[in-house]
Symmetry: C2
Subunit: 211 residues, 2 copies
C-alpha cells in the first residue's frame, strides 16, 4: 500500500496495513487518527446542537467550538501524514554514508535534525489532542443532551491519543543533544499529561451528570 495515499485507503485497509509488519502506519499515525476521531465526535455533537430551538442560547458558543474542532481535526490529519513522512526521512538519514570524517559529521548533524523533527511531530499531535480535550470540556455542559455521551467518548479518546503519541516523543528524545530543547519538551510533556487527566475527568463527570 502507498502510504502517501493513506486518506484513500478504506477503513478496513487501514486496519490491515497497521496490523502488518510494515512499520508505517505505526503508533504515532494511529494516535493521530484516534485524535481525529475524537475531534469528529466533538463536531458531531456540535452539529446536533446547532439549529435546535432548545439550544438557541448557546448556539454562538457551539458554532465557535465546531469551527475550532474542524481546524484541529484538519491539523491531526496533517499530523498523521507527517508522522508517516518522518519515518522515511529517518530511514533516509540512517542510510547516509559514514566512511569519511566529513560524511560522519554531516550524518550526525542530519540525524540530530531528523530526531528533532520526529519529536516535534508527535508532540504537535499530543498538543492538538489536548485542544480537543479543552473543546470537550467547553461542550460538555451545553451540547445536545441526546448525544452528550459522545463528548465523553471524545474526551477519553483524546486523552489516550495524547499519551500514546507522546510515546514517540519518549523514543526520540534521548538521542537529541540539545539540552535546552529537551528540557522544554519534557516540561510540555508533564504539563500536557497533568492537565489532560484533569480535563478528561471533569468532562466525563459533567457528561455523566447530563446523561
Amino acid at each position: 500500500m502507498d502510504t502517501n495515499k493513506v486518506w484513500e485507503w478504506t477503513t478496513e485497509e487501514f486496519l490491515t496495513v497497521s496490523s502488518s509488519s510494515s512499520p508505517t502506519p505505526g503508533g504515532g499515525s494511529v494516535s493521530a487518527y484516534v485524535g481525529a476521531l475524537a475531534a469528529s465526535m466533538i463536531c458531531m455533537v456540535a452539529n446536533l446542537t446547532i439549529g435546535k430551538e432548545k439550544y438557541k442560547e448557546v448556539e454562538p458558543q457551539v458554532k465557535e467550538i465546531l469551527s475550532q474542532a474542524e481546524m484541529v481535526l484538519s491539523l491531526l490529519k496533517t499530523g498523521l501524514s507527517q508522522d508517516i513522512a518522518e519515518f522515511s526521512n529517518f530511514m533516509a538519514v540512517l542510510k547516509l554514508p559514514k566512511s569519511t570524517e566529513e560524511e560522519k559529521t554531516v550524518r550526525t548533524e542530519k540525524l540530530q535534525e531528523v530526531l528533532v523533527s520526529a519529536t516535534d511531530t508527535p508532540l504537535g499531535i499530543s498538543q492538538n489532542c489536548y485542544k480537543i480535550l479543552q473543546l470537550a470540556q467547553e461542550l460538555a455542559p451545553i451540547g445536545n443532551k441526546g448525544a452528550i455521551s459522545d463528548v465523553g467518548v471524545a474526551a477519553y479518546l483524546a486523552e489516550s491519543a495524547l499519551k500514546s503519541a507522546m510515546l514517540s516523543v519518549d523514543i526520540n528524545l534521548p538521542g537529541i543533544k540539545n539540552e535546552v530543547y529537551k528540557e522544554k519538551v519534557l516540561a510540555e510533556r508533564t504539563r500536557l499529561f497533568e492537565q489532560a487527566a484533569v480535563l478528561c475527568a471533569e468532562t466525563v463527570a459533567m457528561v455523566q451528570s447530563r446523561m
Copy 2:
C-alpha cells in the same frame, strides 16, 4: 453514505461522516474502531517479532498472541457493524404504533429487547478491548524492542476504547427493567474498569523500561 458499507469508506470519509449530524457512526462505533486499531498495533509488533533470530525463543508465545489479537480485531469489526445496526433497530422500535393497549404492550416488550441488545453490543466491545489489554501485557516483556512503544499505544488506546464504549452501556442501562441483568452488567463494568487500569499501567511501565 451507506452505513452498511462502512468498511468500504475511506479513512477520510469515516472522519467526515462521524463529524456530521448523522447519528451513526456514533461513539460506540468509533470506540470499536479505536479498539480495532489497538488490536492492529499488537498484530504489528507481533509480526515484527516473529521470524527474527533474536526473538526465536519467544516465537511460539508471540504467534499465539498474534492469533488471538487477529481474532479480537475481527470481533471488534463485527462490534462496529452491530453498533450501527443497533441504532436502526432502536429507531424502528420507537416508530412502532402505540394507539391500542395491545400495541403498547408489544412496543414496551420490543423496547426492552432492543435496550438489552443495545447494551450487550457496547459491553462486548468493552470486553474485547479488555482482551487487547491482556494481550498487550503479555507482549510487552517479549515483543521486538524496536517497536515496543507501539504495545504501549495499544494499551492506552484499548483502555480508552473500553471506557468510551461503556458510555453507551451507561445510556441504555437505566431504561432496562430486568434487575438481575442490570446488576450483572454493573458488576462487569466495575471489574473491567478496575482491571483495565491496572493492566494499562503495568503494560506502559514495562514498555517504558524496554524503550
